[in-house]
């Protein structure tokens, strides 16, 4: 007869059960029932002369493999059969990284992948802000393409690995919508508020430094750990125009006295050299209200900002100094630029950091 010491029946049954439990298609009550079946079948086979090992093998084969059983069990728990479609899994991965994994019944993988992509995204955003041009655009764009391809392929792969997978209890259309909504409501918000945000430029107030049609990313981390500096292109809001976001140059610092005399800016009595400024009017014959301003003391914790296109700029001359807390960030990189007249990209501006 067989050597009984080499085969532990209860151990084998446990292993068998553990293997089935790998599939979410089986609920624990299903496993209880299948195990009871196996435990009934084995003694009957042993009674006909098989060893315990042979009986186990025959009985478990008669029950069927995990692969054969899981789709039928899955159907029962879902009400209908579900095919994991690779193209849909790939598409959902683009909608939100991890959504395709979720769809194929891999919630843990979905979460890990999503968090990983988020971290990579954060890292690439910082690379975009901190690397010198043209690497600031090339590296993040190339890396983002690689990551996107990987994420899509991972979703496709998950769907191929399990072509038939049961509808889990969480697999409801509103769960997907909810997941997308949560991600869409939180992540761009957090990213845009604390790391990086993109803005178009519809007005010419900063010409020739920033042109109409330039798309600029703002560095939201710029003033988290250091103070704004003179000459910075700051992005800010003012309570006077709550709908608008301004970008202007910091000319006066907290506590300084600023005065404008016939277009010349004086900070604490000293003339400021402004090579970046452009005037539209050729002569000083025509005067404009912005040409002169009586000496003004900038409050502590506030900054005086002016547009480089001095004749066509709504700035601190008219709406006063800007509180530090209203400054959102610093103009960092022109990530795209479209000539508003020809509607053609201005390639030479893309990747540049205006200063």
């Amino acid at each position: 007869m067989e050597d009984q010491t080499s085969f532990d029946l209860s151990d084998a049954i446990q292993k068998w059960r553990r293997d089935l439990s790998q599939s979410a298609a089986f609920h624990s009550a299903d496993l209880d029932e299948l195990e009871a079946h196996l435990r009934d079948a084995i003694p009957a086979l042993q009674a006909s002369g098989l060893s315990s090992e042979e009986a186990f093998v025959v009985a478990s084969r008669r029950i069927g493999t995990r692969q054969t059983l899981e789709s039928e069990f899955g159907k029962i728990h879902s009400g209908h059969s579900v095919r994991n479609r690779p193209w849909l899994a790939g598409l959902l991965q683009i909608v939100t990284p991890g959504l395709g994994n979720l769809y194929t019944g891999r919630p843990v993988r979905a979460l890990i992948l999503h968090v990983t992509v988020l971290c990579i995204g954060l890292f690439l955003a910082l690379a975009l802000l901190w690397l010198p041009g043209p690497l600031n655009l090339l590296i993040p764009v190339a890396a983002a393409i690689v990551v996107a391809v990987f994420v899509v392929l991972d979703g496709v792969q998950c769907a191929r690995a399990r072509p038939h997978f049961p509808l889990e209890r969480y697999k409801r259309w509103y769960v997907y919508i909810l997941a997308v909504l949560i991600v869409a409501a939180t992540e761009p918000f957090l990213m845009g508020n604390y790391v990086i945000q993109a803005f178009p430029t519809p007005t010419p107030s900063m010409e020739p430094t920033i042109l109409v049609g330039d798309h600029v990313v703002a560095d939201k981390t710029a003033y988290a750990f250091s103070d704004p500096q003179r000459g910075d292109l700051a992005i800010y809001r003012t309570p006077e125009f709550p709908q608008r976001i301004f970008v202007k140059r910091i000319v006066g610092m907290p506590g300084e006295t600023i005065e404008i005399r016939n277009r010349e800016v004086l900070v604490s009595g000293r003339r400021v050299d402004e090579p970046y400024v452009q005037f539209i009017r050729r002569s000083t014959d025509e005067t404009s209200p912005g040409d002169s301003m009586a000496p003004t003391v900038i409050p502590a914790d506030a900054y005086f900002l002016l547009g480089d296109n001095r004749d066509n700029s709504l700035d601190s001359r008219f709406i006063g100094p800007v509180q530090r807390q209203q400054i959102l960030g610093k103009a960092n990189t022109i990530y795209f630029s479209l000539d508003p007249d020809t509607q053609k990209p201005r390639w030479n501006r893309i990747g540049k950091t205006p200063n």
């Binding site: 299903d30 009871a36 079946h37 435990r39 029950i63 069927g64 054969t68 069990f73």
Partner: protein, 117 residues
């Protein structure tokens, strides 16, 4: 040779529900015994992938043809017993009619064909 042929997959699938309902008219039963009984009645020619019976049982339960209960008979292991409900008896009646229709039609056809034995 022909008499020993196993039932085709399609026929096995189609006959599972009426077979289960019919065996349960003999009284409540659990999966392993149900399968044993069907094998015995069919002379071993109806061979199920045994695990596949359970999703069918669960489906029938959801369709309210049968109901189930985990129970431990004295001195035996814990098993899930299934028993017929009223809806199950009605379903069986319908199944019987349908199978008898097919059976009757085939019988008539086969009897009218001249054949040598």
């Amino acid at each position: 040779m022909y008499n020993n042929a196993m039932l085709s997959k399609e026929l096995v699938a189609a006959s599972t529900v009426p077979l289960v309902l019919s065996v349960l008219t003999e009284g409540e039963n659990y999966g392993y015994e149900l399968i044993r009984r069907v094998r015995e009645l069919s002379g071993g020619r109806i061979e199920w992938t045994e695990g596949m019976l359970y999703p069918v049982l669960h489906w029938m339960e959801r369709e309210r043809m049968i109901e189930s209960e985990w129970r431990e008979a004295a001195g035996e292991r814990r098993r899930k017993y299934y028993r017929l409900r009223k809806e199950g008896r009605m379903a069986l009646k319908e199944e019987q009619q349908q199978w008898m229709t097919v059976h009757g039609a085939l019988m008539k056809l086969w009897k009218t064909k001249p054949h040598l034995t």
